[in-house]
């Protein structure tokens, strides 16, 4: 068991980790995901409000992890990317599906997936990964 299995940590992050609730500064209009509680542009003048992100966006850089850190060994090889969300902020995320189809510039959408198992004793964590969004927008 480690901090990675911290129940309180995942409990308090449930809105951001599972529902993609970020924040927005209504003073300057900038959106934040992961959420920030202080707007770095406006600081004390800022006014932070919750903002639900669609999670849709575009891959701006990606790599295939072939040597994993502790706890992720059984998932290799897996793709991770920096995704530019449509709301105008970037996030790191795993891309599910065929790693050979991942490319910069491709559209992605969020999916709910198992993320990580902390050994035999720890939590099984779920969260958001992304998949290639190859359907035309409706």
């Amino acid at each position: 068991m480690s901090y990675k299995s911290s129940v309180p940590m995942f409990w308090r992050m449930k809105d951001s980790k599972y529902r993609l609730t970020g924040t927005k500064c209504s003073n300057c209009g900038q959106a934040f995901f992961p959420p920030r509680n202080l707007c770095p542009n406006c600081r004390r003048r800022g006014k932070i409000e919750p903002l639900n992100f669609s999670g849709k966006g575009e891959i701006i850089s990606y790599t295939i992890i072939r040597s994993a850190p502790e706890g992720f060994e059984k998932y290799v090889p897996y793709a991770v990317a920096i995704i530019q969300l449509d709301e105008g902020t970037n996030i790191s995320g795993q891309i599910t599906g065929d790693i050979n189809k991942v490319e910069e510039g491709k559209r992605v959408r969020p999916v709910f997936r198992r993320m990580f198992e902390d050994g035999q004793e720890g939590l099984i964590q779920y969260g958001i990964k992304w998949e290639l969004d190859e359907r035309p927008d409706v």
Partner: protein
């Protein structure tokens, strides 16, 4: 501004030290530095030690007390500095500032890390403590993964090639092959780099600095105190800057803004420009980061770092020798020790004492130590004369 000099240096061999503990390595490097400075130790008034993650590597915190205790320096004040892989450049900078402030005359700046007591996967997870734990580590990113994301952006934007990246490792190993303190003192070829196992596309094993145990120590003295030492090397400039912890929050994936800001401060204080730098020790934790360094320190235009390497300009006999003693790639990267090791190597070069690795006529050297994926950068400029 007051003048401050480095008057003593010491470094253990960087290696997998199965028979030595963190305390063994720290005291060994400390003893070598005292011997080099020609003092006993009672002259030392304060100690600053850089260390990234002894708590996770060996379960030991409170290294400030441990280092002072084990070195027989009690009861002087001791402070641990942490900024991931830039920890000991920050310890050096704090030591420098403690003399500039007038508080102390002779102080120790050290760095130490013991990484091989735990298995590689655990060390990799511990290193991810330098990234954003909640949003980068949590999705299975690794440090080589973060630098792979930067590499791909650089390749896409500027046409940097896989071969140019390999040439960084080849250059550093060519130098490190002659460094008796290096973990991997052997030359490698471009073909070997390109055939080594893929770790995170497009970075391969021989693009990556190794996991290393080691310690390095410098002794700093005020101008007045430095008169009692034989071979002072002077600190001409010091700069430090920060950027977002998470890579995805950066404004650009093709430059290290913290490096640029820290370099500007250091050049400004020293009254020097990049053209005045004779040699540089830069943070090649992954091959791409040496290309970032060359560009962001201003040695060439943005995007031309790969060509700069390909043209041989960073070689020991080249226009701008970089990582003249092997870099992190060949010497090894005990994360919390690297910043002080870089400075100790510059001092040895600027004294003209590096034997086979000596860059003749080197009088001004620059050290760049980077923390995380670029969230901290520290630049120091040293000169043989001020």
């Amino acid at each position: 501004m007051k003048r401050v000099a480095v008057v003593g240096i010491g470094q253990t061999k960087f290696s997998e030290h199965w028979d030595k503990s963190l305390r063994d390595l720290s005291t060994e490097a400390g003893s070598l530095a005292l011997q080099d400075a020609g003092i006993e130790g009672k002259e030392i008034q304060a100690l600053f030690i850089g260390n990234m993650s002894a708590g996770r590597f060996i379960g030991q915190e409170h290294l400030s007390s441990l280092a002072t205790d084990q070195s027989g320096l009690l009861p002087i004040p001791a402070t641990r500095c942490e900024a991931a892989c830039a920890s000991s450049a920050l310890a050096f900078r704090q030591a420098y500032h403690s003399i500039l402030s007038g508080q102390h005359d002779i102080v120790v700046a050290a760095g130490a890390e013991k990484m091989n007591d735990i298995k590689g996967e655990s060390a990799s997870a511990a290193l991810m403590g330098a990234a954003d734990q909640e949003w980068e580590s949590a999705i299975g990113l690794t440090f080589v993964g973060l630098y792979a994301l930067l590499t791909k952006s650089h390749m896409k934007n500027y046409g940097t090639t896989r071969e140019q990246l390999a040439m960084v490792s080849v250059n550093n190993h060519r130098n490190g092959a002659l460094n008796e303190k290096a973990q991997f003192p052997a030359e490698i070829t471009i073909e070997q780099v390109l055939k080594s196992p893929m770790i995170a596309d497009p970075l391969r094993l021989l693009d990556c600095s190794p996991i290393t145990d080691g310690a390095a120590v410098t002794i700093l003295a005020s101008e007045e105190a430095a008169k009692n030492f034989e071979r002072p090397v002077w600190i001409a400039g010091s700069g430090q800057a920060s950027d977002t912890l998470a890579l995805h929050d950066r404004k650009s994936l093709t430059e290290m803004l913290a490096t640029k800001v820290a370099a500007k401060a250091a050049y400004g204080q020293a009254g020097l420009r990049q053209g005045d730098i004779d040699i540089a020790e830069v943070h090649d934790c992954f091959s791409i980061n040496e290309i970032f360094a060359i560009e962001d320190l201003g040695f060439c235009k943005k995007g031309e770092g790969g060509k700069f390497v390909e043209d041989g300009k960073i070689a020991r006999g080249g226009e701008k020798p970089v990582n003249t003693t092997g870099g992190l790639k060949s010497i090894g990267h005990p994360v919390g020790a690297t910043g002080v090791r870089q400075i100790a190597d510059l001092v040895k070069q600027l004294r003209g004492e590096y034997g086979k690795l000596q860059v003749n006529g080197a009088r001004t050297g620059l050290a760049l130590n980077v923390g995380g994926s670029g969230a901290t950068a520290a630049v120091h400029i040293l000169r043989s004369e001020l």
